[in-house]
Amino acid sequence: MKFKRYLSGSVAALCLAATCFGTAASAEGKKAEVIHWWTSASEAAAIKVFADRFKDAGGEWVDNGIAGDAAKRTFTNRLLGGNPPQVGQFNVTREFEEIVDAGLLNNLNAEAEAGNWAEVLPGIINNVIKRDGNYYAVPVNIHGSNWLWYNKAAFEKAGAKPPTDWDSFFAAVDKLKADGIVPIAVGGESWQERLTFNAVLLSVAGRDFYLKLFNNRDAELIKSEKMGEVIDVYTRLRDLVRETDKGSPGRSWNETTSMVITGKAAMQIMGDWAKGEFISAGQKAGVDYGCIPAVIPQSPYMISGDVFVFPKTGDDADREAQSLMVNVMLDKETQIAFNNVKGSIPVRSDVDPSKLDPCGAQAIKLTSSDATHVGSTGMYITPDLAGAIQDIYTEYWNASDMTKEDMVARLVETFETVN
């Protein structure tokens, strides 16, 4: 432990020695190194919006994009090693609360008060970025993870109507099946199977049930009849996919979206990041493809998103650069420009909805009132528990010998034993 600290300390010292000349040369510039994971083409274009606006505001943006989970790991390692960047990225979940408790992040109360965050941000996101009454993170977007995307031409050809409840959903499925198309394509990766389960859970059991289950950790609910109905619908979907969508196991979400785009499949349940695929294929919302937020109309919309955090560096110039960054990221104009590229919607509910596409305009209505949306499970439970129940969903989705009762028993046990 001591040795490790010494080692990282000396590494940090070396880094500092190497960069201090550079810093001196660029003089007064408000310099911020940003570690993020937005490296794919559309994501990189989105973060460039932030970079450009930050430069226009007099800052110096040092980009450090690292693909995938490695970004968080690099950020955490540098934070613990004593050489943090000025800005780092997380998801809107509880995953950064340990870092807050360790006292490694700057609190953003001044910026929050000046920007009136309590008013303009959705309540649940406001809760996640606050800990013990202090603000520690800046949310930049809202993604919805339960959307139904469908191919309009395929629906017309089969004479099917977009679903309004699960009965009409399965009625549409029968027509599509008879027409020889894959009715609903599911990418068989464990996180996609979890996403499907959560979409069913929200549409069948509703918002209160969901919040009691994940926020209050009321494991009794798992044994309830409502949960039985949820699992029944999940099972019907599973059997349908097994029968009609043979290539499902292991298929990525974007390959699955492309089946809907090319008309091989009629529907997909996926987050709004799928919109980027439709856009890059040159399709138009409401013309070529349809989107239903929350899968079944009137169901709660599940939101997630990204935040940026600002480590303590012990340097006042850094703190000023961080403050500038916070204001740039939450600026109304920047929010619209950024989110239109990213496929998500602005995190502020006070932007002009006419500047959003038809899907986004539907979504922002759902995020402006607390009663119509919930947070993703990661906002309420630890990644550990979320992962453990995901293992159960995926096992059930792929098993032949696991009964509904087994699934209930395993979920209850997991809720009771995993912190």
Binding site: T76, G247, G250, T417
Partner: protein, 294 residues
Amino acid sequence: MKYPLISSRLAARLTILPFVVIALTIFVGCVLWSVQLSFTSSKLLPNSDFVGLDQYIRLFNTTRWIVSLKNMVVFGVLFTSGSLVLGFLLAVFIDQKVRAESFFRTVFLYPHALSFVVTGLAWQWFLNPALGLQEMVRVAGWESFTFDWLVNRDFAIYTVVFAAIWQASGLVMALMLAGLRGVDPEIWKATKIDGVPTWRVYLHVIVPILGPVIFTSVILLSLSVVKGYDIVVAMTGGGPGIATEVPAKFVLDHLLQRANIGLAMAGATVMLLTVIAALAPWLYLKHVKKGANG
């Protein structure tokens, strides 16, 4: 003569001293630290809140971990034996003084130049029912042809074994071939004179001579069994469901995604014990027994 010997030995020892120190501190130190963490409630950050065997109890109550261990055994046995047999046969084939030997040698060794990730991806495409082999045969006219092991939870692990054998047997071949070329030609001449059939010579004479080479191959192969991670991630992602999960993936998932260092380290400790248990008989034979004899 005596003094220079001692001083050169001393110089050698001094030279390796820093490396010994580094190895002890980093390897042994980190191993001990990991084991210690497995007895704590560490989440995202390491802590020293001692919870006894809780993590181990949870570990062995987790279906996914049990499936992972089973898969490691299935994968380990089939992959090691498969690569050895195939590698040996390829080496024997090339040893028959075939034409264009270097061409074949290169072809057989080529898969080893690919990483497990590339191997996994290539085989995933090839075995994907909607894209690869099955679709190709169906398009060619045999419409009822079905080969869906990759997406079948009972057989998916065997496709991973195939891919891994394909990748590793070239290396075994190269090692074995070097061994075969080291066999004294006089032995071959002697067996020819005695009229022993070639296959018996290979089985009863050559294989024992190749003992050390086989041993080296087994060690190399079993290391990739325990470390086995990348090929599974690239090929199946542990799926369908949890059918092809392996211990290393369990540990890394809990370390990197699920912020549970304690449980991850408990898994890692069990993996370490597995390796030690596998190596113990050999270490015993190599050191203790030798010590007793000599």
